[in-house]
């Protein structure tokens, strides 16, 4: 209750000061919210709901993999999926919903397979260290899930239904209604699957059928936005309920385990522009349950956490070429689990600031953050970056930063093995990016090469220590990650035909710099489940109402904790869509063929992945302009 009071006070303090700017006049001027320093850092758009016809039923894990943003560590179709960006681990990718982190404070990570693309309107990302701007966990990259509100007098409704292999089915829809002052957006999504695919355990061994892999997931979203005279206020709610069975490994006879994830996320945000000032504030409550059951071993492991978050930003623009930003965040969490002796709580506070200068050919930016965890300071976190364009078609970007990740509640308090004295993982990263682009009336092309380097000390690992007979968390490792990222993009128009090619290759070395006895990790060895080589290519083709897309992914050999070599694999997917409309109704028919050449592969050893599979669907959208 104390947390709730604090939550209300922070939000009200940050909003009431500007409430008087709201005007009840109906003749509202068009508001142009200036891009903030932080939002401009996430402007690389991965996906948006309006332009993406080819992937309307996907999830974030699949999107990140296909777009070459991250290596996705998947435990199987519909199972846990986490990301590794630039050789980091799952805790090193920060995922934001409307600008606030939604990682579990107990685990420090987020299951990306639980995030349907339908949950948001746009997804942005920024690779590399960004802790100065975004805080703990922004080491490998930041993924941003954002709603997109358009104040217009339209009523639109949509319904999508799809069917696929192994009992996959999805139903989703939305209702958007409003005017130039108020907008409401209601969405739902329900999906299910049996996922009882056949797989070949090893070459030459008779195919087996996966079992205990069913999935049921429901989502409900509600966005309410009110436009003010010089800003807007929004209310966002996301309810998710998921039931997933945990399939057996390929060397396990059967499994009866299952997991329930229940989350409720409520957020209020406000943006007000007054002169050169842009004031933003957010307050949120996240309440989540993760319940794991395994009747075979009589295991019941329910857990819950409740987090209160508050954030306040002040951006100052228009001082010639300078922009400034100051901000503060506050977060309080309490968690419950059988694995904790008591119900641990944790508070985190931070202040941060930023300066940006934009010249004709040069942009410079400096960011800094100070964070406290339970009122103990974390080392101060600076970041600088330069963007130089000697000629309009050529860009050089330099970035250097200190980054960190705070230990999770499980790292600190789990019994046995939690370690309250853990230090934050921290280190420095640098990157240099060169890009060249060329555009004319019909063709746009861009080519870029990025080199990065990162050292992280006090890397937290769970393992058995000499003299102990249980796993415990310790600041054991030091990891050096470095690599090259090549990207090529070409868009062309040939009459009515539009084509876009995206291709990329990542070379990633992410090595343990300290040889460890327990767990057994030799000095200089590549991190587990971290491919050195990754490549992707996507080709999208569009003519009139037809769209066709081909996605190819190559993941090089990785090492696992059970076997030293998990073989490389190549996956190809084909997507197609046909759009047709009649007056106010638009219809979209789409299909998807995944794993075209029926590759038998593993991302994690002993966890088989599915072969070729299909999906067909229809989407209807009704729009009425008032």
């Amino acid at each position: 209750m104390k947390n709730l009071h604090l939550f209300c006070i922070i939000f009200l303090l940050s909003t009431t000061s500007f409430a008087q700017v709201a005007d009840s006049s109906f003749a509202l001027p068009e508001v142009s919210i200036v891009e903030t320093i932080r939002s401009s850092e996430l402007e690389n758009e991965l996906w948006n709901s309006e332009s993406s016809k080819l992937n309307p039923t996907g999830d974030l894990a699949k999107l990140l993999s296909q777009k070459g943003v991250a290596f996705i560590k998947s435990y199987g179709l519909g199972s846990l999926a986490t990301s590794s960006i630039r050789g980091g681990n799952a805790n090193h990718t920060l995922v934001l919903w409307n600008g606030l982190p939604i990682q579990s404070p107990m685990l420090g990570q987020l299951d990306l397979s639980l995030l349907p693309l339908n949950s948001v309107d746009a997804i942005g990302f920024e690779k590399g260290g960004n802790s100065a701007l975004w805080g703990s966990g922004a080491i490998g990259g930041v993924i941003s899930l954002n709603p997109s509100i358009h104040f217009n007098k339209k009523l639109s409704a949509s319904y999508l239904s799809s069917k696929g292999s192994w009992g996959q089915a999805q139903h989703q829809g939305y209702l958007k209604v409003g005017n130039d002052r108020v907008q409401s957006q209601t969405k739902f999504l329900f999906k299910k699957a049996e996922n009882d695919f056949f797989y070949e355990p090893v070459p030459g061994v008779e195919a087996r059928q996966q079992s205990n892999a069913a999935l049921r997931q429901g989502n409900f979203f509600q966005d309410l936005s009110l436009r003010l005279k010089s800003g807007q206020i929004g209310l966002h709610y996301w309810h998710q309920n998921s039931y997933r069975e945990i399939p057996p490994t390929n060397v396990q006879n059967s499994s009866q385990a299952y997991q329930e994830d229940l989350s409720q996320r409520l957020m209020i945000d406000m943006e007000v522009k007054k002169g050169n000032l842009l004031i933003g504030s957010k307050a949120a409550i996240f309440n989540e349950n993760l319940n794991y059951f395994d009747p075979q071993i009589l295991l019941e492991s329910p857990s819950n956490f409740r987090t209160y978050l508050g954030e306040f930003n002040l951006d100052i623009n228009g001082l010639r070429a300078h922009q400034f930003m100051l901000g503060t965040t506050w977060r309080s969490t309490q968690a419950w689990s059988k694995g904790y002796q008591e119900s641990p709580s944790e508070s985190r506070q931070s202040v941060f600031g930023s300066w940006k200068w934009e010249g004709d050919k040069l942009e410079a930016q400096a960011n800094i953050r100070q964070q406290w965890i339970d009122f103990k300071p974390v080392p101060i976190t600076p970041q600088i970056q330069l963007d130089f364009s000697p000629v309009p078609v050529f860009h050089i970007k330099l970035k250097a930063s200190r980054n960190y990740r705070l230990p999770t509640l499980n790292d600190r308090y789990w019994v046995p093995g939690g370690n309250p004295d853990l230090r934050a993982e921290s280190g420095y990263s640098q990157e240099l990016s060169l890009s060249f682009n060329k555009a004319d009336a019909a063709i746009f092309s861009k080519i870029s090469l990025t080199a990065f380097n990162r050292n992280i000390k006090d890397w937290i690992l769970w393992g058995i220590q000499p003299g102990e007979n249980f796993w415990s968390a310790n600041n054991l490792a030091e990891v050096w990650s470095r690599g090259l990222e090549f990207r090529y993009n070409k868009k062309a128009m040939f009459g009515k035909i539009q084509m876009e090619l995206n291709a990329g290759y990542d070379l990633t070395y992410s090595t343990n710099q300290v040889g460890l006895y327990l767990p057994r990790i030799p000095e200089g060895s590549q991190l587990f489940y971290t491919p050195r080589h990754q490549g992707f290519a996507t080709l999208d083709w569009n003519m009139n109402s037809f769209s066709l897309g081909f996605r190819y992914n190559h993941v090089g050999q990785t090492g696992g904790i059970l076997i030293s070599e998990i073989p490389a694999y190549h996956i190809g997917n084909l997507n197609g869509a046909y759009e047709f409309s009649s007056k106010s109704i638009e219809a979209l028919a789409f299909f998807e063929v995944n794993n075209l050449w029926n590759q038998q592969y593993f991302v994690i050893e002993r966890r088989p992945m599915p072969g070729i599979n299909y999906q067909l669907g229809l989407k209807f959208t009704f729009t009425k302009k008032n």
Partner: protein, 328 residues
């Protein structure tokens, strides 16, 4: 005379009991266990043997030896870590010991030990009865989320779960060690693969005179974090040698048959001799097979005989021991 005989029997029984750890002298409520969590407990005594246990109260974790009479042979997983796969102690007894210790293959040996005391101190050790815990047995048989089903994907992986026992006397390692496979899937013929699911005698007489024993486990199912097979086994009836070791009752225990019942083969082992003379008899007295100079620890092929009960006579030195074989 009668009083002297009674006194002799009493003393003989007492000495024998003191050199036998059958854990029935430890008081346990029904379907329960002792794992060192009681205050000021650093181990348990049975007969002239001491079984150390370490309990880490803040982490609810133990290692060493627990004493149990739990009988659950069906529930998999660590929630059933205190049960034997036989559902009780040796010979239908109630209590038995469970050893648990993370023995980290190749890169750390954290062996469990037990100590000899009193009359057993420095005596030759005879051996003990062993079987798998329910947790380890079901993990090897069925696999779990962490450990593999033995045999692997196609049943051909040469998996094993091995216990190595070493003896010490005055802090010095004795010359020999004894290996016992709690599971062995290394046979070319997969029908011979087995996981121990009965109480089986482990002969330790080759260790000689000892005052302590160490037990370390090793498994073929390993990861960078150690081995995945649950590091448990169950013990009962640990004996140190006494002058009564030539007693026919003990002689019978020198010969072990495994597996029994069996379909195709039985491994015949003697704790005393390398070479045995065997004869297999039907229950109606017909000689079915005879093998002289049979190597102890080798397999006796019984696949040609119909299902039923047979009598195996084993000449071990100057003694002939008869044991039943059940074929299915």
């Amino acid at each position: 005379m009668r009083q002297s005989l009674l006194l002799f029997i009493l003393i003989f029984s007492l000495v024998q009991a003191q050199n036998l750890a059958n854990f029935e002298d430890i008081s346990l409520p029904q379907d329960s266990f002792l794992n060192g969590s009681q205050s000021n407990v650093n181990g348990y005594r049975s007969g002239n043997f001491f079984f150390p246990v370490t309990y880490d109260a803040p982490n609810f974790s133990w290692s060493g030896w627990s004493i149990s009479n739990k009988t659950d042979t069906l529930t998999a997983g660590f929630t059933n870590q205190y049960s034997s796969i036989t559902g009780g102690g040796f010979g239908g007894s109630s209590n038995y010991a469970i050893s648990y210790g993370l023995n980290l293959t190749d890169f750390s040996q954290q062996a469990n030990i037990l100590k000899f005391e009193g009359d057993a101190l420095g005596q030759p050790v005879r051996g003990f009865q062993i079987t798998n815990s329910t947790y380890a047995y079901l993990s090897m048989k069925n696999g779990d989320q962490f450990a593999k089903r033995f045999g692997g994907v196609d049943g051909n992986d040469p998996d094993f779960f091995l216990l190595t026992i070493k003896g010490y006397f005055n802090g010095m390692l004795t010359a020999d060690s004894v290996d016992f496979y709690l599971a062995d899937y290394r046979f070319a013929d997969n029908t011979q693969d087995y996981i121990v699911d009965e109480w089986t005698f482990v002969d330790l007489s080759s260790l000689g005179n000892v005052d302590s024993l160490s037990f370390s486990l090793n498994s073929s199912d390993t990861s960078s974090f150690g081995f995945n097979t649950p590091a448990y086994f169950c013990m009962d009836n640990l004996e140190s040698a006494t002058p009564s070791s030539n007693n026919p009752a003990f002689a019978s225990e020198r010969i072990s048959l495994y597996p029994n019942p069996s379909r195709n083969f039985v491994m015949v082992s003697s704790s005393r001799s390398n070479s045995l003379d065997l004869s297999l008899w039907s229950v109606d007295g017909k000689l079915l097979m005879q093998k002289d100079n049979f190597l102890s620890g080798s397999k006796l092929n019984i696949s040609d005989f119909p299902a039923g009960t047979y009598l195996l006579k084993v000449r071990d030195g100057d003694q002939v021991i008869s044991k039943k074989i059940n074929k299915f």
